[in-house]
Symmetry: C2
Subunit: 387 residues, 2 copies
C-alpha cells in the first residue's frame, strides 16, 4: 500500500472526498443557465463567509492573482501606499505595490511580530496621504494572525482604502468584512475553503470601487469593473472562461462549511490551534507563532539547537507521508510549520506532532517523547462521552 498522504500545510489543504467528487462532474459551459445558477449560489455562500453585503469577484487564479488585481485596480503609478509586512506575504504586498510603481511606505516588523493598531496608526500618520493600506490577516509564514478589525478602525478616518490578504484566514478565523470596514478582502480556494487551488476571490466595497475608477494601472484579466459588470442579477457569469470544475468543488466545500456553521467552524479551528500548541509544549519544543487562540491557522515551531527544520520535514514526509512546511526567508531551517485549517481533525494534528517528535529525536534534538498526542487530544476538548 502506498503511504496514506496527510497534507498538513497552510495551503493547499486536504480536500474532502465530496469536494473531489464534485470536481469530476462533466464540464458545463460557463454561459449556460445551469452554470449561472451554480455561480450565484457559490458567490452568495462566499458573501456569507465574508460577512458582507458587497459583491464578491471570482477569478481563475491563485490568491496572488487577486492580490495583484487589488493593486492594479486601486493604484496609479506614484500613489502613496502604506504596506504592513511582518513575513513572506507582507513582502508580497511590497513587491506587488513596487511592481506597479507606487510610492511605497513600508511598515516592516520582524518576522513573527504581530502588527498592532497603534503601529499602523502611527505609520499612517507619518506616511501622510496614503491612498491605501495593505494588510495581511493571517501571515502564514510565521503563524501570526493580526487583529485586522482593530487596525481597520484606525485606518477608516484617514480616507485610505483598507486592503486585506485573507487568503489563509477566510473560513478559519472570524472576518467581519462589512462591520470592520474592510474595503478589499482577497482570498483563495485552497486554504480553509477546502478546495483545490485555482480560484481567487475579492470582496470590494463601494468605496474601493470608487477609488478604482480613476486608477491608471493597466489591467484586464483581473479588472474589477469588467468582472462586476458580468455579476449583475440572478444570472451572473464571468468575463473570461471560468474554471467551472473548481467552482463545482468550491460550491460543494462552502456547502459543507456552512452546514457545519461558521461559528462552529471557527470554534473547531481555535481548538485545533490549542491542540497543536499543547502538543508542541508537551514535547518541550518552543512555539515560534503566538500562543493565542487567534493563531488558529498554522503553528510555527522553533527547531531545537542543531536540528535543521528541512531535515525534519523530509523525514516526516518520506517515512509517514505527512507534508509539513518549513520556514521562509530569515526562518529557513529554523522553524517547522503545521497547518490546521479546513478539512483537518485533531488526529491529523496528533499524527503530525508525533511524527515530528520522532524526527526531531532522530536528528539529535532534545524532545520529550510520547506526550504530544494525548496533550493535543486533551486540549482539543469536546463533550465527555459516556455509554
Amino acid at each position: 500500500m502506498p503511504l496514506k498522504q496527510k497534507l498538513m500545510t497552510p495551503g493547499p489543504t486536504p480536500v474532502p472526498p465530496a469536494v473531489l467528487a464534485a470536481l469530476a462532474q462533466p464540464v458545463v459551459h460557463h454561459r449556460t443557465a445551469e452554470f449561472r445558477e451554480l455561480l450565484r449560489r457559490c458567490l452568495d455562500r462566499l458573501a456569507e463567509v465574508h460577512r458582507t453585503e458587497e459583491p464578491i469577484l471570482l477569478f481563475g487564479a491563485s490568491g496572488t492573482g487577486a492580490m495583484e488585481g487589488a493593486v492594479a485596480n486601486l493604484l496609479s503609478p506614484g500613489d502613496r501606499v502604506l504596506v504592513v509586512s511582518a513575513g513572506n506575504f507582507g513582502e508580497r504586498w511590497l513587491k506587488l505595490t513596487e511592481a506597479y510603481g507606487a510610492d511605497v511606505v513600508p511598515l516592516r516588523l520582524e518576522w513573527g511580530e504581530t502588527p498592532t493598531a497603534d503601529d499602523v496608526e502611527a505609520a499612517l500618520a507619518d506616511a501622510g496621504g496614503a491612498k491605501a493600506v495593505f494588510l495581511t490577516h493571517s501571515e502564514t509564514s510565521t503563524g501570526v494572525v493580526a487583529d485586522v478589525d482593530a487596525i481597520a478602525a484606525r485606518i477608516a478616518d484617514s480616507g485610505a482604502v483598507t486592503v486585506v490578504d485573507a487568503i489563509s484566514s477566510l473560513g478559519a478565523v472570524p472576518l467581519d468584512t462589512d462591520a470592520a470596514g474592510l474595503d478589499v478582502v482577497v482570498s483563495g480556494s485552497q486554504k480553509a475553503l477546502m478546495t483545490p487551488p485555482g480560484l481567487a476571490t475579492t470582496a470590494v466595497s463601494a468605496r474601493a470601487l470608487a477609488a478604482s475608477a480613476d486608477a491608471r494601472s493597466p489591467r484586464f484579466y483581473f479588472d474589477w469593473r469588467a468582472t462586476l459588470d458580468k455579476l449583475d442579477g440572478d444570472a451572473p457569469t464571468t468575463p473570461f472562461t471560468t474554471p467551472v470544475s473548481l467552482v463545482y468543488g468550491l460550491d460543494a466545500a462552502l456547502g459543507l462549511l456552512l452546514e457545519e456553521g461558521l461559528e462552529a467552524v471557527f470554534d473547531r479551528h481555535v481548538r485545533l490551534g490549542r491542540a497543536c500548541r499543547a502538543g508542541v509544549k508537551a514535547m518541550g519544543l518552543e512555539l515560534f507563532s503566538p500562543d493565542e487562540d487567534r493563531s488558529a491557522v498554522v503553528t510555527a515551531i522553533r527547531m531545537p539547537e542543531g536540528v535543521d527544520g528541512a531535515d525534519a520535514i523530509r523525514i516526516v514526509r518520506e517515512r509517514h507521508g505527512i507534508t509539513l512546511e518549513g520556514g521562509r526567508g530569515p526562518l529557513v531551517g529554523k522553524i517547522v510549520r503545521i497547518g490546521h485549517i479546513g478539512y483537518v481533525d485533531v488526529f491529523d494534528v496528533a499524527a503530525a506532532l508525533t511524527a515530528l517528535e520522532q524526527a526531531v529525536a532522530e536528528l539529535g534534538g532534545e524532545v520529550e517523547r510520547g506526550a504530544a498526542a494525548s496533550a493535543a487530544l486533551e486540549a482539543y476538548g469536546g463533550e465527555a462521552v459516556h455509554a
Copy 2:
C-alpha cells in the same frame, strides 16, 4: 433520466472520463518532488504538442490571462504594435494592447475573412517599426484558421516578435512553433487539450524573452522571468500556488492525445470538420466559416432568413442537452457554431447537426430534412470494415 449533455462548443469542450477521474485525486503540495515530477512530464508533453524546444510557461488562469501576460511582458507604453483582427479574439488583442498603452496599429478585416501573409506584410511595412505582431491562429468567433506559418515567415525579417493566440487550435490543427518561428504561443487547457478550464500556457522563444527584458509594463502573476526561473532542471515548480488538480487532468489528457499520436489527432480533426461541413451542406444551409480542411476547430453556419440563431441554440439545448454557440459582435443571431475539437467523435457532430436541423425547421427556416447525419458519416470516412 436527466438529458445526456453534449458540449459542442469550441471551448470548454467535453472532458474524457479518465481526465475527470484524474481531477478527483487527492491534492498534493506544489512544492513536493511528486508534483515536480508531474509538472515536468506535463511541460514536456506540452512542448511536444507545440513542437518546440523552447520552455513552456504554465499559469493558473484562462487563456486571456496568458494573452495579457504576453502583452505585459513584451511591451512598454508607447511601443508600436500591429494587431491583426478579424473577429472577437483579434479584438481581444486590440483591447489588451490598448489597455497597456501601446501605440496600436490595427489590421482589421471583416469578421469571417482570413488574414493572409500579404495583408500582414503590407500592414507591417505601413506601420513601421512595430515591436510585435499579434495574431489569432484559430478565430473561434468565425471558424477561420489562419495560416500562421506563412504569416510568420513575412514577419521574421522585420525584427518584430510574432505572438500567436493558439488557444483553440493547439492540439487540433498543426502548429510548428519552432519551425515557423512563432516567438510567443499562448494556449489554454479547455479546448483541444480536453481539460477543464483554468490552465493557460505560453511558449516563449529566446528572442521574445530578450525583448521582454526591457519591457516596462507592470506584471507579477503573469511575469515570464519569475515563472521561467522556477522551471529550471528536472524539478520544476511555479512561483505561485499551482492548480494541482487541473495539472493532474492536463497531464492525463496530454497522455491520451500523444498516445493517439499528433498526426492522427490532426487527421481526426480534419475529418470531423469535413463531416460537419458535409452535414451543413446536405441540409441546404450556408457555411459562414471557410469550406477548407484547415478550418477544423469550429464550423459556423449562417442561419436562413427569418431564423434567429439564439432561438435555434435554445431549442437544441433545452430539448436535447446539446450546447452550441451563437455569433458574437456583428454576428449575434446570424450564425450558429458547432465546435468539434478534443474529445469529440463523428456521432457527436451528427447529433448536433440533426438537432440543429430540427430546430431550424421548427423555427420556419428552409432546411433539408434527414440528410445531414449520414452525409457527415460519409465525409468522415475511415476504412471499410467487413466481417
